[in-house]
């Protein structure tokens, strides 16, 4: 198949890069039976995630169809989604 990025569950709002992706690229992501083009706002490393839609601050990041964390700032479509803009809800001993 050798796709550039993969969407795991149709509920997901992020896709995972399957190779090194470059800022400005339009990445086709298979969503159900259609292909959606996402223009990258940054370089995305192999294995890292980018947003498929704009995600408001405080909204859930969804991967595998499940919540993997909340956006700590507004995230734009095509932006890198990682520890700089997502926080976990588990094991947060700092938030008691």
């Amino acid at each position: 198949m050798q796709e550039k990025a993969i969407l795991i569950d149709k509920k997901d709002n992020v896709a995972t890069a399957l190779c090194q992706l470059v800022k400005g690229d339009s990445i086709p992501v298979a969503v159900e039976d259609r292909s959606v083009g996402v223009v990258l706002l940054q370089d995305i490393s192999f294995g890292h995630k980018f947003a498929l839609t704009d995600i408001p601050q405080g909204d859930a990041i969804i991967k595998y169809g499940e919540v993997i964390g909340l956006a700590t700032k507004p995230i734009r479509q095509g932006e890198h989604v990682h520890i700089h803009n997502v926080e976990s809800q588990k094991g947060r001993g700092d938030k008691r």
Binding site: M1, Q2, E3, I6, I8, T16, A17, L18, S45, F46, G47, H48, K49, I61, K63, Y64, E66, V67, I68, G69, V81, H82, I83, V86, E87, S88, Q89, K90, G91, R92, G93, D94, K95, R96
Partner: protein, 385 residues
């Protein structure tokens, strides 16, 4: 389907025929290693436990030592003690007698020091080795296999390639009547709603929620954000953002079958099929627990690449991506990276893993065995008193 294994006197099935030199106390570690080094063909497992244990911690360490040394992959065991420890060779030997495991004991203080103890140990280890040489492989049904599922050095591809492919292999084994155990409770944080739905009954579902809640409470008790340890630096560099994301990828090793039971670390399951062991996130300690629970073989997926093996059970390494596979080829048995390279599917790699399990069970050596990887540690609950 059949494989070639060793039927032991208690009816259990081993896939290796090791003579194990095992210290019951950290203070006898080097003596155990010296004995093993002087008797080629034996293996040793050293650790930091054996004294300072009370209550539940003591029970867990004893349960682990008994399960590990009495394992059917071990033909005979030489227990090495110091003489003043909490967990003596006699305590473990007493438990092993119940299953008929072949066991000898030696103690540094009683033998009169290191040199004399090594001499005595060498003689006993040689005797065990000669006896073990008589064991023969016979045809055994795959339903008697217990597969340990492990992942370590995960990246974002682990949950997309290697782990779901291993899940398929686990489903195939269980469909033929075998069992599989997965663990790493910390790496189940945020997945209770997914795992709970697959529980065999309400009690198992309750236990799943309980062990995951306990792992979250323990993590929070440190008073910090666990990010940095979970996910770890290598995980984060590999693209994993949160423990929830890592966990959702991690649990895919467990395939799609019903979760039959939840057991304690190093506890032997009473049920067959898919089992959750309440274990630690640290791979090497967890491997020990899986073996002590009865797993004869472990399949270990990795994204970043890890070389670890165990002293007594073969570990089959599956890389999640081709970069790691090519970078650490001498450590990797199977490359699940072909799934994203377009040269394989989850199904084809799942079947490849299943076939490898059968071959390894029949005697084929894994890369970790060939290289001599025998990492070992015991998950002690502490505190050390």
């Amino acid at each position: 389907m059949k494989f070639l294994g060793y039927r032991r006197s208690d009816g259990k099935v081993g896939i290796r025929n090791h003579v194990l030199i095992f210290p019951t106390i950290v203070c006898a570690s080097e003596v155990a290693r010296m004995i093993s080094n002087e008797v080629p063909g034996t293996v040793y497992a050293i650790h930091g436990c054996g004294c300072g244990h009370v209550g539940e911690d003591k029970e867990q360490v004893i349960r682990t030592m008994v399960g590990f040394t009495g394992h059917p992959n071990v033909a005979g065991v030489l227990l090495v003690g110091l003489g003043c420890e909490v967990i003596t060779p006699e305590i473990i030997a007493g438990e092993l007698a119940k299953s008929g495991q072949r066991v000898e004991t030696v103690s540094v203080q009683k033998a009169g020091g290191t040199t004399k103890c090594v001499e005595e140990g060498r003689r006993l280890a040689g005797k065990l080795l000669a006896e073990a040489a008589g064991a023969k492989r016979e045809s055994i049904d795959v339903s008697e296999l217990i597969l340990g599922l492990e992942c370590g050095g995960s990246d974002a591809l682990s949950g997309l390639t290697a782990n779901p492919a291993l899940g398929i292999a686990s489903d195939l084994l269980i469909a033929q009547g075998g069992s599989a155990i997965f663990s790493e409770t910390t790496e189940m944080l945020g997945t209770e709603q997914v795992l709970g739905k697959r529980a065999a009954n309400a009690e198992v579902k309750k236990r799943i929620y309980e062990i995951i809640a306990a792992a979250d409470t323990k993590a929070k008790s440190m008073g910090v954000d666990i990010r940095g340890s979970q996910p770890g630096p290598g995980n984060i560099a590999g693209g994993l953002t949160s423990i929830e994301e890592k966990s959702l990828g991690c649990i895919r090793k467990g395939g799609s079958t019903t979760i039959m039971d939840v057991i304690k670390y190093a506890e032997q399951p009473a049920k067959k099929g898919l089992i959750i062991m309440d274990g630690t996130a640290l791979d090497v300690m967890n491997d020990t627990g899986l073996i002590a629970s009865g797993a004869q073989v472990i399949v270990f997926t990795t994204g970043r690449g890890t070389p670890v093996g165990t002293p007594t059970a073969p570990v089959i390494k599956v890389s999640s991506n081709s970069i790691t596979y090519n970078n650490m080829k001498d450590n990797m048995d199977i490359n699940a990276g072909v799934i994203v390279d377009g040269q394989g599917t989850l199904r084809s790699v799942g079947e490849q893993i299943f076939n490898e399990i059968i071959e390894v069970a029949s005697g084929k050596l894994t890369k970790a065995e060939i290289l001599g990887h025998r990492e070992f540690d015991i998950h002690s609950l502490g505190p050390v008193l």
